[in-house]
Amino acid sequence: MMRRLALAILFACAIWFSGRDYVQLVRDSLSMLRQPYEARRERALGGDYIVMQRIVKEIPRDAAVTIVLKRPKDVDRGVFLSYCLYPRATHFNEPRTGVIVLVDGSDMQVISR
């Protein structure tokens, strides 16, 4: 009896904390199921991803890219951009060779080719 009570309390806590996540997962899965994967990404990752994909399409796959961060706090966006640009060679800030992409908050653009 005590064991069942203990397990019931633990499950109630787990459902309280994770139930919303699971409901959201089921909803997202059902609504995304028929969408192309890129559309799912745009929906899940939002505006930054859409901007990054636009930049990815602008840059040839064999180009070297310098990602210039306007502010140090733009580093996370820069890292994601670098991830999206793979397999293009990327480096940050210096030396400013190849294609240069400026990351200024959510505003990202190719400033030199």
């Binding site: 397990l7 499950f11 787990a14 996540d21 997962l25 997202d28 899940a44 060679a89």
Partner: protein, 412 residues
């Protein structure tokens, strides 16, 4: 869908072969471990990865074709209506992970990028790891998870991260099923099913940021911690313990101290037979340090190097505890109660096993927060849930031992 099929076929195939040789264990986790360990050792020796994958597959088929099951007498829980909650949760988690895109920071920035590079370059010390191509944050992070993800990408002939989505979810699901198998043997089938299901409902396991739906290596580390911990309790198969220790070392930086703790505990459990576990463990440590000597570091945090500064930072302990303790959540309240019950029952053996698996590393994590040069509140906010996930199997074991009158069976 291709990645899902490969994940569900390739790793269990290798794990089934390993189980034939070393005794029954989680097919998926053993397969993921064997695959990555073989590829890492081959990579350090500059052997191309594709032929190694082919040899692994042929060897697994040969083992399965020429040997017989060695665990026919062992109790293996059968699928039944009572285990429906576990199967449904596992199904929702797996299919949900496959359908929804990867969205977490660490998964993309650190782990999946390495997997893409390995799949493309077929090497673990090629231009990417020499910093001659793409920016590689945390360049010297261990490679078990990226190697497994790269294997899926190689089979799929596609280095898109969606191919590896099922792989990450399967680490959590495989751990849950291993918890069910072990707890059914040691406690009762119903306790086993419910605690295994609970594991997949824990916020630190199910979430999309560091959990089973992320591309992070914390859930794989938790899975290997669980497997190593169960081997210590069972005290039967030092070779399997050696596999899990090697996997811990290759999964995350925290895995090495974790493995050392389990190795020392294993010396008391296995006595001289611990030497069998020492062989793969030592080989992987040597390979890891050889590989790291060949590639430049980037922005890795050197927490162990900061530990000598502990006396100067000891005054921050109160701030660390104030930030860290509220992150523990309901599972750890249950663990504290379970510990009190086990003390009351004088059930020393399960208590000692559980505490050995939890306390040393929990202390190390706390000290890492104390000596860090990051803002403590920010670092704890970002990492605490993921670090606590590492202990989920020992935590559930303590709860099971405390709530079950049959705990005495494993204290013999």
């Amino acid at each position: 869908m291709t990645g899902l099929l490969i994940t569900l076929l390739w790793f269990p195939l290798l794990g089934a072969a390993f189980s034939r040789l070393a005794g029954r264990t989680s097919w998926f986790l053993a397969g993921a471990g064997v695959n990555a360990l073989a590829l890492f050792l081959a990579g350090v020796l500059h052997i191309p990865l594709k032929p190694v994958i082919a040899v692994l597959g042929l060897a697994a088929i040969a083992v399965l074709g020429t040997t017989t099951k060695s665990w026919s007498g062992a109790r293996v829980p059968r699928a039944s209506l009572s285990s429906l909650p576990l199967w449904i949760t596992a199904f929702v988690l797996l299919i949900g992970a496959v359908i929804t895109p990867l969205a977490d920071y660490d998964g993309r920035a650190f782990w999946m990028l390495k997997a893409k590079a390995i799949a493309r370059e077929q090497r673990i010390d090629g231009p990417f790891f020499q910093l001659q191509s793409t920016h590689s944050p945390r360049n010297q992070y261990p490679l078990l998870v990226p190697l497994d993800a790269a294997t899926v990408m190689l089979f799929a002939r596609d280095d898109d991260d969606r191919q590896a989505r099922a792989l990450f979810a399967m680490f959590a699901i495989a751990l849950a099923f291993e918890v069910r198998r072990r707890f059914a043997e040691w406690f009762s089938p119903s306790t086993a099913v419910w605690l295994a299901t609970l594991l997949l409902w824990l916020p630190q396991i199910e979430n999309a940021s560091g959990g089973a739906r992320s591309g992070s290596a914390d859930v794989p580390l938790a899975a290997f911690v669980g497997c190593a911990f169960f081997e210590l309790i069972e005290a039967r198969a030092p070779l399997r313990l050696g596999l899990w220790l090697a996997c811990l070392v290759l999964t995350k930086n925290e895995g090495l101290p974790f493995a050392l703790v389990f190795f020392i505990a294993g010396a008391f459990v296995f006595r001289r037979r611990i030497l069998i576990a020492a062989v793969p463990f030592a080989a992987v440590i040597a390979a890891l340090f050889t590989w790291r000597a060949r590639i430049p570091p980037t922005d890795e945090q050197d927490f162990l190097g900061q530990l000598p500064g502990l006396p100067q930072h000891i005054g921050r302990t109160g701030e660390v505890l104030a930030e860290f303790l509220p992150r523990f959540g309901f599972l750890w309240i249950a663990v504290a109660i379970a510990i009190a019950i086990l003390v009351g029952k004088r059930a020393w053996r399960p208590l000692v096993f559980g505490l050995v698996a939890i306390l040393p590393m929990l202390t190390l994590y706390t000290l890492a927060y104390v000596v860090t040069d990051w803002a403590i509140a920010e670092l704890v906010r970002v990492t605490a849930t993921r670090l606590l996930a590492h202990f989920v199997a020992p935590a559930l074991f303590l709860i099971a031992a405390a709530t079950h009158s049959r705990y005495t069976e494993i204290s013999q």
